[in-house]
């Protein structure tokens, strides 16, 4: 099968998944809990359908595609912020510190982004597409970096991810990681392998859709009753140290 035909099939499969996810979001009234994610998804769904419909009109397709990417990236940042708010919402003691760390990470990522821009600029700013790809690469680095910092912070603070928030973050993270690789590679190799990269990107997006669907549909896991532990090695060590101290 040709890559172009495969891409068309994957595109249609993706739209079907998006239609199902849209139904789930509507049924669950997800816009109340996750307004930015709902907006991000709705926009992405509408844009996919529109771009699919106009794919033969080359110029319109091109401008619509870049516009969709720009709005998608902006809304992606909003989703990351929403995940942050949901995760730290009920932990005011941690939120202050987490916010400071988050802002610090943002500054570091902005510096990395500027470095990437400077390093790439002399080579490729002659081409408009290359310039846009570089800007997109920088934006994706920042988005992914912020999301990674959220995962690291939640582990450090021992926070529990609720099912749906975790699904949203995981799906977005996976999509962003593949998107970052695709944009970076595409900026380097030009038009060669463009179709193959597009297949990878659409597969990644469809996988993210399945992750979102899976986590939004599965019920929140009930907390298992807390089991009392057996006396562990620690008590023995404690005993040994106490004896040593008493000596």
């Amino acid at each position: 099968m040709e890559l172009k035909s495969l891409l068309q099939i994957l595109w249609i499969v993706g739209m079907l998944c998006q239609a199902v996810l849209a139904g789930v979001l509507l049924l669950r009234r997800a816009w109340k809990t996750f307004p930015f994610f709902s907006l991000y998804f709705s926009f992405s769904f509408a844009a996919t359908v529109f771009i699919f419909a106009i794919q033969r009109h080359r110029e319109l397709y091109l401008y619509s595609y870049w516009l969709q990417e720009a709005v998608g990236i902006t809304l992606g940042f909003a989703v990351v912020y929403e995940v942050f708010q949901t995760l730290f919402g009920c932990h005011p003691a941690l939120r202050k510190l987490a916010k400071a760390v988050f802002c610090g990470v943002l500054v570091v990522l902005a510096c990395i982004g500027i470095t990437v821009l400077i390093k790439r600029a002399p080579l490729g700013f002659a081409s408009f597409t290359f310039a846009i790809l570089t800007v997109e690469e920088v934006a994706r680095i920042m988005e992914l970096g912020l999301l990674m910092s959220l995962f690291i912070l939640s582990t450090t603070f021992g926070l529990h991810w609720r099912q749906q928030v975790f699904g949203i973050a995981l799906g977005l993270g996976l999509f962003l990681a593949v998107e970052l690789i695709a944009v970076t590679v595409r900026a380097q190799i030009g038009k060669t392998g463009h179709d193959a990269l597009n297949v990878v990107r659409v597969v990644a997006f469809n996988t993210s859709l399945l992750i979102w669907l899976g986590y939004l549909l599965s019920p929140e896991r009930a907390e298992s009753s807390v089991e009392l532990p057996h006396r562990s090695q620690l008590e023995q060590w404690n005993q040994a140290v106490m004896e040593l101290i008493r000596q």
Partner: protein
Amino acid sequence: MITLIVIALALGAVGLFYMAVRSRKKQSRETVRPVDLKAFRTLLDRDDEMFLKGRLPRTRFARLKRQRVSVTMRYVGRIANNASIVMRMGEGARMNADPEIAQTAAQIIELASQVRLQCLMAFAKLSLEFAIPSLQFTPAMLAPEYQKLRENVARLGKLQSANLSPVRVAI
């Protein structure tokens, strides 16, 4: 070079997400582990340490201090783990229809968050002490904060049905 770094970052992110999925599964099986606060306070007692420092040769004292610090770190690890579990359980209780239970749960979450922060501080201090045994950074706030958390969990246990009682006993 930049391209390689960016690709490595993206692959690192995928690895991180995979680990997050695994740790989330593990988290649901985590259990509360009891902490002997009296023993923990003894381990943190710096008068004891001064006494040992005066009596023992330097190398022996350093060895003993490192042993003591590693046991203390295990205790801190337990406290951190328990605080994390209490936070998770408190989130469920916060949605309770009874405002008193919901309020106590909110207080517990707040306290548990503070305990987690104290644990991070304690880890940093203890790591420094492990590296340089002559240093003394007592994580003084941790034991009283944990005691407070314990009392609040006990209060919530009384307010709520029996399913929180095991935590009350265990932590």
